[in-house]
Amino acid sequence: MPKSKPPEKAQKSSGKARFKPGDRVRVKDLPNLFYSRTQIYVRGVVGTIAACTYQDIIPEDEAFNRDGRLEQYYIVRFRQKDLWPEYPFENDTLQTESPERWLEPANN
């Protein structure tokens, strides 16, 4: 029986950015399996797109040396009080970066 070979490399594609600065987004709470760069403290929390940064390979592909497709990255801004209810200052924010697949539109 022939040995099974890994599939061909994924196609590169550069779709249009799904979100724009000012959009409200919620970070998806996907299952943790083997590797993630999406902090658990931002998952399920609604933030605002602060900037569309660049397109790049996602961590889940790059960490396994997979030549994945390019995806839009965003800087997302959260209210500290939304992340940590006991946080004492109303106006403080935290920014973190995320690729598009981890974000969904927040209906608010």
């Binding site: 022939p2 399996l33 658990i40 996602i58 889940e60 592909d61 396994f64 994945g68 697949r101």
Partner: protein, 141 residues
């Protein structure tokens, strides 16, 4: 805010399963020879270790366990891995917490999934999204 309370509970649970020598370990600056040797010990080499008394029950394999076994064997027949690699991944590479914490065939299926990602047969993002989809399908039942 219940989601935040859930997060705190999850973080406490994560803390509770971190390996500890009854003193929590967190990025030690140095480990002595005996401790290093203990850390490097393969988790599956359990012969002679102390254990608390336990109740062992006779039970048949469940369907998911049989499915896992067959899946792993088929991956072997197709030359994607061999049984020693399966043992290395499922008995050793998962680390103590998973080795001791999850069911026997749970270790097999995690090892198979990790191997398929490592060897680029499936992408991790694809797998994570599929698991999320299946979870949500079951949640609706």
């Amino acid at each position: 805010m219940s989601a935040r309370r859930d997060l705190r509970q999850q973080q406490e649970l994560i803390g509770a399963i971190q390996p500890a020598l009854h003193v929590s370990q967190n990025w030690n600056y140095a480990v002595d020879g005996a401790l290093y040797k203990a850390y490097m010990h393969p988790p599956h080499d359990v012969g002679g270790q102390f254990d608390a008394p336990g109740v062992y029950e006779e039970k048949e394999e469940e369907q998911w366990e049989l499915n896992t076994y067959v899946t792993c064997e088929v991956l072997g027949w197709r030359g994607v891995w061999n049984s020693e690699e399966r043992r290395r991944r499922a008995d050793n590479d998962l680390g103590y917490s998973l080795y001791l914490g999850i069911p026997y065939y749970g270790r097999w299926i995690l090892a198979a999934a990790r191997m398929l990602v490592d060897k680029n047969h499936i992408s991790l993002a694809e797998l994570i999204e599929k698991v999320a989809e299946v979870k949500s399908r079951h949640a609706k039942k």
